[in-house]
């Protein structure tokens, strides 16, 4: 197979790392090779974070080339667009949490957060295949906003683009997440699948 390439964009503390680990473990479970490249530098909570995931095929470096990702997963609106304009391939799929996590520069009133329309217009120059929905609201509905990452995982699975099945992802989640939170996580996963379908994938 050709290498399947995913970019995850978000801010520190959103659990992007857990999502990329679940995807990578699912890939291994399905018999594929996998690589994750992380960019977090000195980012503590609230700093920008990005993961590059490559599944299968012949890939060596953990860093993706620009314009080659098949899928962009945006845990945060602005970060999704920041990374998407660079890394998403033309016509690739973008799955985006519409929730905004403004940085201190914005919350303290020094800078403004662009509107959703302004941001998505930029991404629109790269692809028409965009699914935007409030994943954090769905995570709250599942019982804990911390499960936003699992909501995103569910949405991605619903897209049908992944080289492994829903059952594989659930199996990996069951084996690797704390059992006390498993039910909440499964609810979040299902809501994510529904969130993707309902988004209408503009």
């Amino acid at each position: 197979m050709e290498t399947f390439k995913i970019v995850i964009a978000g801010v520190g503390g959103q659990g992007t790392l857990l999502a990329s680990r679940m995807l990578a473990l699912s890939a291994i479970e399905a018999g594929h090779q996998v690589k994750i490249g992380e960019t977090y530098g000195m980012a503590q909570r609230g700093g920008p974070v990005m993961s590059h995931i490559q599944i299968g095929g012949e890939a060596y470096s953990p860093q993706l080339r620009p314009r080659e990702a098949d899928i962009l997963i945006g845990f945060e609106l602005a970060e999704a667009v920041r990374r998407g304009v660079t890394y998403l391939r033309n016509g690739g799929l973008a799955v985006i949490n519409s929730r905004k996590f403004p940085p201190v520069e914005v919350t303290s009133g020094m800078m403004h957060y662009p509107t959703e329309a302004e941001l998505l217009a930029l991404l629109g120059e790269v692809t028409d295949d965009v699914a935007v929905f409030d994943a954090t609201a769905l995570a709250e509905e599942a019982g804990d906003p911390i499960t936003t990452n699992v909501v995103m995982l569910g949405a991605l699975t619903a897209s049908g683009s992944l080289p492994f099945t829903r059952e594989t992802v659930l199996k990996v989640m069951r084996e690797n997440l704390r059992s006390a939170y498993f039910d909440t996580n499964v609810r979040a996963f299902e809501l994510g699948m529904k969130g993707f379908t309902d988004s209408g994938r503009r």
Partner: protein
């Protein structure tokens, strides 16, 4: 969750490991019995993983006081025929260099491998120093893995090599490798419970004789020659000569990945010969010569400095003078900074005149950059360092009138963010412990200073400098930002924590006891979250005629949240009737939990971030911030 996969004894199983975890797995498979480290990005996960699994893996692990001590502990074990591993970030080796030199001269008994995690483009460092030069200076063989799998396998090989040639061996990683994750096939864990016994013949002046042991420069060179002969046929090195002769490429360690991806992308496998080089030092000259003989140009691709490039250039002069050696020295790759797919593609496109890599989205990316904000680094919500800096600033204002009445010499850690707005109250920081040293030179020049140093850094390298100030009567002022943990690298314990890296209870060594024992004239401990008390303590410190030290002690806010789980903090609230919208809390204090609301022109508190520390309530001149009425 099940126990960590780095300790499962399932040979052949494929599992997901981070580069740093794979190094730990390699050490466990190869029977390392003593492991030591000092935390520092991007190396810290090596020690973090070891501290979790040391007991179940049946090995000893410690966070040592600094890298030099870490190295010495490992060497002591090696002299007793135990296998040891030491991990540090690149600049840590500067601290350990004093002991690396005698270790390499005298040699080792049990295999000794030290991991240097270099940081190209200084993602989390003050420099992008290339430690291969230090290995060369000390005749140390270097292995550079290209993947987590190789990192794991190389630890085992490096330990064998170390015992065969009786030299310490450096495993050099780069940030991208240390932090990447990939599937790794596990090997068998071999329990080699060697008898621990001091090697009298190898190390004792009494037994072996001083003359035999002392001058060893010649032996060290011969050992390095043996390592070189081994590297000529090492399977981690591989030469692909079936390509054409348009270009030869040498990809060193991790950088080899960029070469392979670019070659595949451009479909030029038939047009280039390439050498994957895992052993930059000593250079396997016969292997490299075989590549040089078949090409007119060779491009050396390596992280940070043109180390291999320089050696290949020297070699080519003797064995293949017609070959042009290209790389970071020749300007075909950038002289500084991390390489990556884009850089590599560009260089190949230029050298081979390829059209394939020339597309770009420069215009779109520029417009996105214009529209988007940056996310600057900032101290966390509720961070006690923010309170310390705020109180210190007030004290300096009161005593010196002008905030430039002192030079604030900072140090290495989270608190180094004191330079960032809105605090902007730090002038310098250099290397571990330097705040106390450089302040003394400034004092000699008649310049008033404050040394601003963290608890972890104080223990690592601050103590000798403090004693120096007392003995030589340098009237310096020291503030220890004591948040009870080495927070920036992942909350490792300090000597004050009362527990070891393996979770055993430990004696607590207190900073105030050390300062008093060193003869510091005035020592105070204060809670920075009590702003008035902290300001008064800092004012007294500034007025002491002699060496004065204040410990601003309050547990790291992030660590405090973790400790209180599952309890959650009670957030504060702004009384929007009392708030006048003066913005002092935002412009002078700037906790991320404080939010400006354009709707009513008032400050608000983000209840998901607020830790309830109550410091902003003391900052507010209107007393408009308080605990939420239930």
């Amino acid at each position: 969750m099940s126990s960590h996969t780095v300790v499962t004894n399932q040979p052949g199983r494929r599992t997901l490991l981070m580069g740093n975890e794979a190094i730990v797995r390699g050490a466990i498979e190869a029977g390392v019995s003593v492991a030591t480290a000092y935390p520092g990005t991007p190396s810290s996960e090596i020690g973090n993983t070891l501290s979790r699994v040391a007991d179940s893996a049946g090995l000893y692990f410690e966070w040592s006081a600094n890298e030099k001590v870490a190295f010495e502990v490992a060497f002591g074990a090696s002299m007793c025929d135990q296998r040891s591993l030491v991990a540090m970030k690149h600049v840590g080796l500067n601290v350990a260099l004093d002991v690396l030199n005698p270790v390499s001269l005298r040699g080792v008994k049990g295999g000794l491998v030290f991991v240097s995690t270099d940081d190209p483009s200084q993602h989390s460092s003050r420099t992008e120093q290339d430690n291969r030069w230090l290995a060369k200076q000390n005749c140390v063989p270097v292995l550079e893995p290209s993947s987590p799998q190789e990192a794991k396998d190389m630890v085992s090989y490096a330990l064998d090599l170390s015992e065969r040639v009786r030299l310490p061996v450096m495993l050099r990683t780069v940030t991208r490798l240390s932090h990447m994750r990939s599937d790794v096939s596990l090997g068998a864990i071999e329990r080699r419970d060697r008898e621990a016994a001091f090697d009298w013949d190898g190390f004792s002046y009494r037994v072996a004789g001083f003359d035999k042991l002392f001058k060893r420069h010649k032996e060290r060179h011969e050992k390095l020659d043996r390592a070189q002969r081994e590297f000529e046929g090492l399977s981690f090195n591989s030469l692909e000569l079936d390509g054409g002769e348009r270009l030869g490429i040498i990809g060193v360690g991790f950088a080899h990945n960029y070469c392979l991806d670019a070659i595949n992308k451009a479909s030029i496998e038939e047009e280039v010969a390439h050498l994957k080089l895992a052993t930059p030092h000593p250079l396997p000259v016969e292997l490299v010569s075989r590549l040089l003989e078949g090409v007119d140009r060779v491009l050396v691709v390596e992280e940070v400095d043109p180390f291999v490039e320089l050696h290949v250039k020297a070699l080519a002069k003797d064995v293949a003078p017609h070959v042009e050696v290209l790389g970071r020295m020749s300007g075909h790759l950038p002289r500084e900074g991390e390489l990556g797919p884009v850089t590599m593609d560009g260089t190949l496109a230029t050298l081979l005149d390829l059209e394939i890599f020339k597309e770009s989205r420069t215009d779109l990316e520029a417009r996105a950059k214009d529209l988007l904000f940056d996310r600057m680094l900032t101290l966390c919500a509720g961070c006690p360092h923010r309170a310390s800096i705020y109180a210190l600033k007030k004290a300096v204002q009161a005593v010196k009138v002008d905030l430039r009445g002192v030079v604030v010499n900072g140090d290495i850690g989270c608190y180094g963010l004191a330079h960032a707005p809105p605090m902007s109250f730090e002038d310098t920081y250099f290397c571990m412990g330097a705040s106390i040293g450089v302040s003394q030179g400034m004092a000699r020049a008649g310049v008033d200073t404050i040394a601003w140093i963290g608890d972890g850094t104080f223990f690592h390298a601050g103590i000798p400098a403090l004693i120096n100030a007392v003995v030589n009567g340098a009237s310096i002022k020291v503030v220890v930002a004591d948040n009870g943990t080495i927070a920036m690298t992942g909350f490792q314990p300090t000597p004050q924590s009362g527990r070891t890296a393996m979770g055993r209870p430990a004696k607590r060594v207190m900073i105030e006891d050390i300062a008093r024992a060193a003869g510091v004239d005035s020592v105070e401990v204060v809670d920075p979250n009590d702003l008035e008390a902290a300001e008064r303590a800092f004012r007294r410190m500034l007025e002491v005629d002699g060496v004065a030290l204040v410990i601003a002690r309050r547990l790291c806010a992030t660590e405090a949240l973790r400790v209180m789980r599952p309890e959650k903090p009670v957030p504060l609230e702004v009384d929007s009737g009392a708030c006048t919208g003066c913005r002092i809390c935002l412009s002078q204090f700037g906790c991320p939990a404080l939010v400006w609301s354009d709707l009513d022109g008032r400050a608000r508190i983000d209840t998901t971030l607020c830790t309830g520390c109550g410091v902003c309530a003391q900052v507010c001149p209107q007393r408009a911030i308080g605990i939420r009425e239930v």
